[in-house]
C-alpha cells in the first residue's frame, strides 16, 4: 500500500474490508460481500428445505477466517429468522473436539454451521461421527475438506456434509476453457512435487492469478503498477476458472462461492474424486450439478 503496488490476494476472506485499498484484488470468488459469502449458500439451501430448519448451532476457531465467516453467519441467521441455540468459538490449538460436539448435540440444532481450519475440520468431523451428531445439515465453512489428503483419509465420513468450495470436477466447471489442459499439466507435475495430487481447490485459482496479471501486463504494455491496477479494475478476464470481473473492494463483482455436498463416497480411493458425482454442486443455481440429499442422516448412510 505504501508503494502503491498492485496486489492480487489468494484466498483471504474479507482482507480489504478495513483497508479499502483500491489496488487490491482478490482471486477468491467471494464477491462484493465477502463476510457472508461462505455462509450464504448454506443458509439459502437450508431455507429451501422441507421441513424448514428452525434452529442453528454455529461454531468456529478463534482465528481470522473463522471469525469473519461467523460474523457473516450471524448476519444471515437474523436474515433467515433462525434461532441460535449454540454460538461458541474454540482455540485453534484444541486437540479434542468431542466435548464441543457433545454440547452442540445436547442443544439439538436443526443445522450446524462450522467455520474451521483443516485440523479442526477433521477433528470436528470425526467427533461428529463418534458422538452421533446428526443435524439436518452439517458443514458450512470447513476449510480442508477439499484437500485430497483429507478427502482420501476421511472417505465415507464426508458423505452428507454440505460445505463451501470454489471448484468441483462437475460438468459446468470442466467445460471452462483451458481447465482440463491445466489440470492435466498440474497433476503430472504435482505427483513429482509431492503436493496435492488433484489440485481442485487452490491451483486453478493460482493459475488464474497468473492469467489475470499476464493479460493486464500485455494490455498495458509494461509494468506500471497503477496502469495495471486500472486495467484489472476495468476489464473482464478469461481464465481457467471462467470469466472474472473485479468489483468493489477488489473482490469479484459477482460472488461465486459454491455450496457442495459430498455424496456416495466409498472407501479412501483417490480416483473416485477425479470425476463428477462425489462433490455435487448445490449452489448457486446456475452452476448446480445435482440435488441435496436431505436430511444429513439420509446421505450419511
Amino acid at each position: 500500500m505504501e508503494r502503491k503496488l498492485t496486489v492480487i490476494g489468494m484466498f483471504g476472506l474479507a482482507n480489504n474490508e478495513k483497508y479499502q485499498y483500491p489496488n487490491y484484488f482478490q482471486i477468491q470468488p467471494a464477491g462484493p460481500d465477502p463476510q457472508t459469502s461462505t455462509a450464504i449458500g448454506f443458509f439459502e439451501l437450508a431455507a429451501r428445505q422441507n421441513p424448514k430448519p428452525q434452529t442453528v448451532a454455529i461454531v468456529g476457531a478463534d482465528a481470522e477466517y473463522p471469525q469473519n465467516a461467523l460474523v457473516g453467519a450471524r448476519e444471515l441467521i437474523k436474515k433467515f429468522g433462525l434461532k441460535t441455540v449454540y454460538d461458541k468459538t474454540y482455540p485453534p490449538s484444541t486437540v479434542d473436539y468431542t466435548p464441543i460436539v457433545r454440547t452442540i448435540k445436547a442443544t439439538n440444532p436443526d443445522i450446524v454451521f462450522v467455520a474451521s481450519y483443516p485440523p479442526d475440520s477433521v477433528g470436528m468431523l470425526r467427533a461428529a461421527h463418534e458422538v452421533g451428531l446428526q443435524p439436518k445439515i452439517l458443514g458450512g465453512g470447513m476449510v480442508g475438506l477439499m484437500f485430497t489428503t483429507v478427502m482420501t483419509s476421511m472417505g465415507p465420513l464426508l458423505n452428507g456434509i454440505v460445505n463451501y468450495d470454489f471448484w468441483a470436477p462437475e460438468p459446468p466447471f470442466l467445460a471452462m476453457p483451458g481447465i482440463k489442459e491445466f489440470l492435466k499439466e498440474y497433476q503430472a507435475r504435482a505427483e513429482k512435487a509431492g503436493v496435492d495430487p488433484l489440485g481442485y481447490y487452490l491451483p486453478p485459482y493460482s493459475y488464474a492469478v497468473g492469467q489475470v496479471l499476464a493479460q493486464a501486463i500485455e494490455a498495458t504494455k509494461g509494468f506500471d503498477q497503477q496502469k495495471i491496477a486500472d486495467h484489472i479494475r476495468a476489464t473482464e478476464f478469461n481464465t481457467v476458472v471462467g470469466k472474472i470481473k473485479f468489483g468493489k473492494n477488489g473482490e469479484w463483482a459477482r460472488g461465486r462461492t459454491l455450496m457442495v455436498q459430498y455424496q456416495k463416497i466409498q472407501g479412501p480411493g483417490i480416483d473416485q474424486f477425479r470425476g463428477p458425482g462425489k462433490k455435487v454442486v448445490l449452489y448457486p443455481d446456475d452452476l448446480k450439478s445435482g440435488n441435496i440429499i436431505y436430511p444429513y442422516s439420509a446421505a450419511k448412510n
Binding site: T94, D96, P99, E130, V150
Partner: protein, 280 residues
C-alpha cells in the same frame, strides 16, 4: 469428564520426554515437540507406504530416535554443557534444532496436512451411555503404559536409578563410579525415544503439519511443571488435570476458555505448591 481423562492420557504421552529431559536433567529441550512431530511423520510414511499401524511404527523406531537423542545430547554437551554455557546458549541451540526440523519436514513433505488410517480410527464403543472413541482410548492406554514403563525403568533398573541420581548429585554419582555424561546421554535418548511413540499417537488423533509442534510446546512444559519437575507419576496426574479441565470448560463454559483455565490452574497450583503437585 471421560473425554478429559482420555485426553490426559495422551497429553502424558507427549509430555514424558520433557518430564525426563527438562524435569530430571534440567535441560530446556524446547525442540522436544519437533521430535514428536518427526515421530508423526515417520508413522505417516510407514502407514502410507506399507499400511503399518502408527503405534507399531512408533515402537519400532524408538531405537532410532534413541540414537538421535543420544547424538543431539553429545553435541549439546560438547558445545555448551561442558563449557558451562548451557543455560541461554543451550536454549538457543534447541530453538535452532526446532526450526531446522520444522523447515526440513516442510521441504521434505510440503505443508499439506498428513493423516493416518488405522483399523480403530473411526470406531468407538459405548460404555454405560458414554461413547468412547478408540482414537482417544488407544493413545490414552499407550500413554499410561509409557508412564508405567518409564516409572518402572527409573525406579527398578540400574540405569534408571542412575538417571535419578544424576538429576540430584552428579558428583556423588561420579564417586560411585558412574559417568554422568553417559547417564545423561541415555536419559536424553530415552526422552527422544518417547517422542517416537508420542508422535505416532498424535497423528492417530489429528492431522499434522510441520508447525503443529508449536501447539504443544506450552502444554508439554506446563504439564511437566505442574506435575513436579522430574516426577513421572506427577506428569500423568498433571496431564489428566489439564485434560479434564479443558474438557469440562469446553462443555460447560465454552471452549474458548479451556486453555486459559488450564494455564490458570497451573499458576494457581504453583502459587500454592511452587515445586508442582508431586515435586520435591
Amino acid at each position: 469428564m471421560v473425554a478429559g481423562l482420555l485426553l490426559g492420557g495422551f497429553y502424558a504421552a507427549v509430555s514424558l520426554g520433557v518430564s525426563l529431559i527438562f524435569g530430571l536433567l534440567d535441560i530446556a529441550n524446547i525442540a522436544q515437540p519437533a521430535f514428536v512431530i518427526l515421530g508423526s511423520y515417520a508413522a505417516y510414511v510407514m502407514n502410507d507406504a506399507l499400511g503399518l499401524d502408527p503405534i507399531l511404527t512408533g515402537l519400532l523406531l524408538t531405537p532410532l530416535f534413541y540414537g538421535l537423542g543420544a547424538l543431539v545430547y553429545r553435541v549439546y554437551y560438547a558445545s555448551f554443557e561442558r563449557r558451562g554455557e548451557e543455560s541461554l546458549r543451550g536454549l538457543v541451540f534447541f530453538f535452532g534444532i526446532l526450526f531446522i526440523m520444522e523447515v526440513s519436514l516442510s521441504l521434505t513433505f510440503g505443508v499439506d496436512y498428513r493423516l493416518v488410517q488405522t483399523a480403530y480410527t473411526s470406531k468407538s464403543i459405548d460404555l454405560g451411555g458414554v461413547g468412547i472413541a478408540f482414537r482417544y482410548l488407544v493413545p490414552c492406554l499407550v500413554g499410561i503404559a509409557m508412564t508405567a514403563g518409564l516409572y518402572l525403568f527409573l525406579g527398578r533398573t540400574f540405569y534408571g536409578r542412575a538417571i535419578m541420581a544424576v538429576s540430584q548429585d552428579q558428583l556423588a554419582l561420579r564417586l560411585m563410579g558412574a559417568n554422568p555424561v553417559q547417564i545423561k546421554t541415555i536419559a536424553f535418548g530415552v526422552g527422544i525415544a518417547a517422542a517416537s511413540l508420542a508422535g505416532a499417537l498424535l497423528i492417530s488423533i489429528a492431522p499434522v503439519i510441520p508447525s503443529t509442534d508449536r501447539d504443544y510446546i506450552g502444554r508439554m512444559f506446563a504439564i511437566t511443571v505442574l506435575g513436579g519437575m522430574g516426577s513421572i507419576g506427577g506428569t500423568l496426574v498433571a496431564a489428566v488435570v489439564l485434560g479434564v479441565a479443558e474438557s469440562l470448560m469446553a462443555t460447560f463454559f465454552g471452549p474458548s476458555w479451556s486453555l486459559a483455565v488450564s494455564f490458570g490452574i497451573l499458576l494457581l497450583a504453583l502459587a500454592v505448591r511452587p515445586a508442582g503437585l508431586f515435586g520435591r
